[in-house]
Symmetry: C2
Subunit: 192 residues, 2 copies
């Protein structure tokens, strides 16, 4: 693990412990085992560090999502895998919710979050659309509609997971029944 | 309009103007035209007022949602109407987001919001499930799955509306194509 990664992990730990607004760069320095002054080589401010942490976590999520449909061949199986992966991966947002409790989100951070969210949505729409077009050619014309449905399902699943505390077994069953209903007329495994 | 309603409307206006944390009961008194002391007859604290405002707004939304599928006979038409109504009605949440900007949400309020959200979700699941069972008897066994799909669609539509600023025309088209795809094998107008 490189030094920057160690610092970000230490920061994550102290954010969880004290909340973001009460954390000082010196707390992060102490937790990471590095001199506070050396943190500024990587991060100009605490807010910069937070933004880099979020960007790193989102990049990891994108990579997992990409892999989840990379190796699958069937439309239904691929989309199920994608949805399960997405529910698992986005549990990290629960941690951020904890970080932010009792903290006011500054306007620049709010802007950054909206921007990241927009990019994430664009990324998801694009990889899912490619996948649908490649694996279910009979649905080509409805690809955008299908992707929107899948993304709607993923939002609802996140609510089941984080608010209703559904276990992954239950999430799995819901994914199965929704995708099977959605593609109840799907025939065979088309490949390109 | 009764006095309580006048006070809540005045409060909504000052919350929008100053944000919740900076608003004082005396600001609400001034805006409403009533003596501040008389406000306490209806509301014990500013937070109580806020909770009552939220409860009132959610009750209105539930009423609109109920009406949206009350008169419709077809499965597809009813669900489309429901989704459009839901997107329109929940624009009110944008106003609350504005209220809360720069304010910390207190733990009791957070608890109240989660509780309200849970009740709302339960309400929506129930009326939609009844509707699906009554209007598309061929889907009876999948009623829960379908309702979950519809609620997922509604979440995604709210994102389109509030983040991507989709106009209602665009929302309408998305609703059309999603519901038509979802019930592409739906035959006729069954009634009970």
């Amino acid at each position: 693990m490189d030094k920057k990664e160690i610092i970000l992990n230490a920061a994550s730990e102290v954010f969880r412990r004290y909340g973001i607004s009460k954390t000082k760069m010196s707390d992060i320095g102490r937790e990471s085992g590095f001199k506070t002054s050396s943190l500024y080589y990587y991060f100009t401010t605490k807010e910069d560090l937070l933004q880099q942490m979020i960007a790193r976590d989102l990049a990891k999520i994108r990579e997992s999502l990409r892999q989840s449909i990379g190796k699958m061949s069937g439309l239904r199986a691929g989309l199920k895998k994608y949805l399960i992966t997405r529910v698992e991966e986005t549990e990290i947002f629960k941690r951020y919710e904890e970080f932010f409790q009792g903290s006011v989100i500054s306007p620049p951070l709010r802007y950054f979050l909206k921007q990241q969210e927009r990019e994430m949505r664009k990324f998801e729409h694009e990889i899912l659309k490619d996948f649908v077009i490649n694996h279910g050619p009979q649905y080509n014309e409805q690809a955008d509609t299908i992707v929107t449905l899948i993304l709607g399902i993923s939002m609802k699943l996140s609510v089941f997971r984080s608010f209703d505390n559904d276990d992954m077994e239950t999430i799995n069953q819901k994914v199965e029944s929704m995708i099977d209903f959605l593609f109840r007329d799907y025939k065979g495994e088309h490949r390109c």
